[in-house]
Amino acid sequence: MPEAPRHLAEVLVATTWECNLACAYCFIRHRELGAAPGRMSSALAARVIDAVDEGLASVESICVHLYGGEPLLNLPALEAMLTQAQRKRPRRFRFAITTNGAGASPAAADLLEAGRFQVVLSIDGPAEIHDECRRTPDGAPTHARVLGFLDALRSRTHCWVRGSAVVRSGWGLAQAYAYLCTLPVDVIKAQAVRLPRGARYALDEAQRRAYLDDLGTIGREVIAALEAGRMPRDDRFSSRVLQLLKGGRRRAFCGAGDTGFGIAPDGTVLPCVLLDPAEARLGHVDGDPAAWVRAGRRWRARRRVRAECRGCTALPLCGGGCPAMLPICGDDECDMTRRSCEVARAIFERFRGRQEALLALAGIT
């Protein structure tokens, strides 16, 4: 990361690996569900808040991002975290959640409002696209339920909502982007499915090329928004353009092990919740927080830039790729990240000499 000031840490907490959907392309499902079932208890959830508050004392603010599995299946843990966070100093904690929205209830919406959650809501596309992959284990479609939840979020809460779509074979980036733009959400993101090449729903060669072209098209839409003094709805390039604006290299792909940690339903602490506990376990929330913080630094220090990254022009903006995703879809991930970095540079260059306009990427308009 470019001389990251320690303003914010992000802790990804999987309060359960259980899910009410059986999405055809879910990499979490294959990796985790069989291995570690169970839900985080309320007592452990409260302990998570205490542990990260203590372990990350040098960071100004902590975002607890609930993940899984489907985090809304474990409302008691969510509520326990909110209650415990309210006992800390004001603005010490903020909350985010990635949810499929398919099993959400009015009680869930009220809890999200109480925590002023940032909500990442998965909606792939119109019903026929969404329901092809995102079904319950017994095969029921979920599109209508998700839109109902979005409606509840908009009418009952002040939550900030991101519409998030998975791009897959037969459903391109430009199509997903256009669909998300029709929804009443604050920001959008459509992203390629994370599957090994050749897997069902993975993009084929022609679809990958189209995806890379579509990134350029979205980049041009970002430029148009900035020219108009607006914050773009698709913010995938924003962090990299702002990095170019500030200057400096990204020294690691993300803050995992330093300003980023993951916590599994059983309380295991990891650099990121997507990493394999057998390889990356740092400790447990019941242990001494200083110990897992130190272990995180050691994990980070051991990481080396891969040989294939060393000559890559994208490295200063990329930082070497996501440690959790490279083993699953490394080549595709690299192509897409490299293209994203190129588009980010093009956006930056477009505003050379009038860089104030780029501040709209951070909502400063």
């Binding site: 914010l8 879910c26 990499f27 985010a96 993101k189 200057g247 959790a324 990240t337 909502g363 400063i364």
Partner: protein
């Protein structure tokens, strides 16, 4: 809220950009705004404005630290797969 004139907003953005890209200026703006901005005196309203500018610089830095198009990050960069 009172709407600030365009020229004021443009000046504010220039100051944000300066503070973002020049650590010495930012430190001076924090420690001694009158000297950093070559303005005396700094009124309470200006002081408030400087506080807001420094907060916005922090917002930008938080966004730089996240990776919008990647997995999971929520702050300026939530996850794409749920």
């Amino acid at each position: 809220m009172e709407k600030k004139p365009a020229a004021h907003l443009q000046r504010q953005k220039k100051t944000i950009l300066h503070a973002l890209t020049d650590p010495k200026f930012r430190a001076a703006l924090t420690a001694n705004p009158a000297r950093a901005l070559c303005k005396k005196p700094i009124t309470p309203e200006m002081q408030k404005e400087i506080g807001r500018i420094l907060d916005l610089v922090k917002t930008v830095e938080i966004q730089i630290g996240s990776l919008a198009e990647e997995l999971l990050c929520a702050n300026g960069g939530p996850c794409g797969i749920a």
